[in-house]
């Protein structure tokens, strides 16, 4: 006998009760925590966010001074996270697609290289990869005063990649000066190692996902396309890829989300991301729960937003016919 479905009103009531219970539990936790912190003479609250941070970030899109508020420092940390995660995601997608195709290439050398890349990068812990990239960059590159001139105005050294860019004095060409390189824009070794490390790690997973999606297609699809007179290239582009892409989209977006969360390893190699700022603030103020909550909430919100975006993409790819 099938389970009788609860009437809609009863199911709503149950949901409401569970929701109220969860909210009440969270409220109880918050109240008890606050009360015990007070009893033990531990200052708590988020007032520290408006007080001067007292520290600066080594690199930041926002010009943050030590006299600026802790809130601004958090914001600068968040921007630093996004600054490495967004280009990292784009790079991961590009490399992942190429490597995924490479694994199915007819040329055995390409296939072997792609397989070696995927296996190496998927099977080494990301933290080790980041440290390796970082120390390769800082050990092998020359000091700032003997920087490599890759192109006019493009300098690569231990202090990073310097590029001509608009600065305080208009368009600036970077030049070695004093302790490093001044003028123009600079991508530090910390940033470069994060970007390359995150992208290559996630790209290996994306490549596997794509390969699996392509190989999971029924062989008849390809044969039918060829029978209709398509060239193998056309069959791949017009018949196989659109179907595989649809299947691969959810796991690929979840890989990109992982990349974003993995960006929190940045402090291991000295990149001042959100978690790094939270760690420093925690130490200066002692507000452990508050600092942790801020990081949790920001990561949660951004992940939920990204998931919603990917959900819309999926729906669109199911509805429309991708070119």
């Amino acid at each position: 006998m099938p389970m009788p479905h609860a009437p809609r009103s009863a199911s709503r009531a149950i949901q409401a009760i569970i929701l109220i219970a969860v909210v009440a539990l969270l409220a109880l936790l918050a109240v008890t925590t606050a009360e015990h912190l007070r009893q033990r003479g531990i200052r708590s609250g988020f007032d520290f966010l408006l007080e001067p941070a007292g520290f600066t970030l080594g690199e930041s899109l926002l010009p943050v001074e030590a006299s600026d508020s802790t809130l601004l420092a958090f914001l600068a940390g968040l921007l630093n996270t996004l600054r490495v995660a967004l280009p990292g995601a784009a790079l991961a997608l590009g490399v992942g697609v190429l490597a995924g195709f490479g694994r199915l290439a007819d040329n055995p050398l390409v296939r072997g290289l792609a397989a070696a890349y995927v296996n190496a990068f998927r099977n080494i812990p990301l933290l080790l990869q980041l440290l390796a990239w970082y120390f390769i960059l800082t050990d092998l590159l020359p000091a700032a005063d003997s920087a490599l001139h890759l192109a006019p105005g493009v300098l690569l050294s231990k202090s990073g990649l310097a590029l001509p860019w608009w600065g305080e004095a208009g368009f600036e060409i970077p030049e070695p000066a004093g302790f490093g390189i001044e003028g123009g824009a600079r991508l530090t070794p910390e940033y470069l190692a994060m970007l390359v490390g995150l992208a290559l790690y996630s790209a290996a997973y994306i490549a596997e996902t794509l390969r699996a999606a392509l190989e999971a297609l029924p062989p008849g699809q390809r044969l039918a396309a060829l029978a209709m007179g398509m060239t193998p290239r056309q069959a791949f582009r017009l018949v196989l890829l659109p179907q595989a892409w649809r299947a691969a989209l959810p796991p690929v977006t979840s890989q990109l989300l992982n990349l974003f969360k993995n960006a929190s390893l940045a402090v291991a190699i000295g990149y001042p991301d959100l978690v790094s700022v939270a760690g420093t603030s925690l130490n200066q103020t002692g507000r452990a729960i508050e600092c942790l909550l801020i990081v949790i909430v920001i990561y949660l919100l951004l992940s939920v937003a990204a998931a919603a975006l990917s959900h819309r993409l999926e729906r669109r790819s199911l509805r429309g016919s991708p070119a």
């Binding site: 009893q39 993995n262 760690g279 990081v295």
Partner: protein, 341 residues
């Protein structure tokens, strides 16, 4: 997430502790009934608290805990060592995971007033300094304009750094690492033009971690005051007094000339101060909830402050730090034991 782990542990400890409200005056009883002192130390700062190749904890902060265990439990070995990251340390103490935090921690107003803990006494007067490569020809921190400075996060270091260069009107860029090893590796690879931390640690890093110590120099500027000392939870005055007075006793022992080897023979000393200290005359232990030989046992276990200093960070150690501020008040330092009477 690997990076979150210290944060999560800290928060978990905080949440876990909420179930049991703090009980004033109970720490000493609980230590006695458990027969063990839970001592929060660092995850490895040579000279202060670090495990040696046999897994034995050694260092100045470690000896303070051992002395307290000897005074309270009669056995310096009855200590449970809890290695704590700089982010975990205060929460671990607040939540009762450790009875004492003896982990090269700077005593400052915010920490003393807002974290629900009490600092007991200063066991080491430190200050923040800089190290640079000799070939950079830098001889003063004031020449570090636009320099990139490697620093390990999680101390008062970052704030001092930014305070100092603000007053100098110089801009520098901190490169902040959460772990010690990458921070010094980045410096020695030439990524940063300077490294900053407490002077005691700089001495160790230059002596033990530098590829060639002579290639590096420690700059003369000391940019901050870093009085390091153990802290206990607030709200337990009896336990606070025990820790405070054991440390005072170690310092007083040096002034009185009571050493590890002479503790027993000095019991025959006619000096009333020595007699009081060793529990031969008055019973000072009673007021602290201890027996009369508490101070004698502490010194017998680890030696007096001077012996502790020399063994761990001073002349008999690889660090070879001078006594400096940490000499007795009558020898040019600022150590001044409160009178044991």
């Amino acid at each position: 997430m690997h990076r979150f782990r210290p944060l999560i542990l800290a928060a978990a400890a905080a949440f876990a502790s909420l179930a049991t409200p703090a009980q004033a005056g109970k720490t000493l009883d609980s230590i006695k009934s458990k027969g063990q002192l839970a001592c929060g130390v660092s995850t490895g700062v040579i000279g202060f608290s670090a495990a040696d190749s046999q897994g034995q904890w050694r260092g100045l902060d470690v000896d303070v805990c051992r002395a307290i265990a000897a005074a309270v439990l009669g056995d310096a070995g009855k200590v449970r060592w809890v290695p704590l990251s700089s982010q975990q340390r205060f929460t671990a103490l607040q939540s009762g995971e450790v009875d004492i935090l003896s982990r090269n921690t700077t005593w400052s107003l915010t920490r003393d007033a807002a974290l629900g803990l009490n600092f007991t006494a200063v066991t080491y007067y430190d200050g923040q300094g800089f190290m640079v490569a000799r070939k950079s020809k830098v001889t003063s921190a004031k020449q570090l304009k636009n320099a990139e400075i490697c620093v390990q996060s999680g101390t008062t270091t970052e704030k001092n750094l930014s305070d100092y260069f603000r007053t100098q009107g110089i801009k520098v860029k901190p490169v902040v690492f959460d772990k010690f090893e990458p921070s010094i590796k980045a410096f020695f690879s030439g990524r940063c033009q300077a490294y900053t931390t407490d002077a005691s640690a700089l001495a160790f890093i230059r002596a033990k971690e530098a590829p060639n110590p002579d290639d590096y120099v420690v700059l003369p500027e000391i940019i901050s005051k870093e009085p390091l000392g153990p802290a206990v939870r607030r709200g337990d005055d009896e336990w606070f007094a025990v820790v405070k007075w054991v440390i005072n006793a170690l310092i007083e022992a040096e002034e009185l000339g009571i050493t590890q080897t002479r503790v027993d023979s000095l019991k025959a000393s006619p000096d009333p101060a020595v007699q009081r200290f060793l529990g031969v005359g008055e019973d000072l232990g009673k007021s602290l909830g201890l027996d009369r030989e508490w101070a004698a046992r502490a010194v017998k276990a680890v030696g007096n402050y001077g012996e502790i200093f020399n063994r761990n960070v001073g002349a008999d150690s690889p660090l070879k730090l001078p006594r400096g501020l940490n000499a007795q008040w009558n020898k040019g330092g600022v150590l001044y034991a409160l009178p044991l009477r």
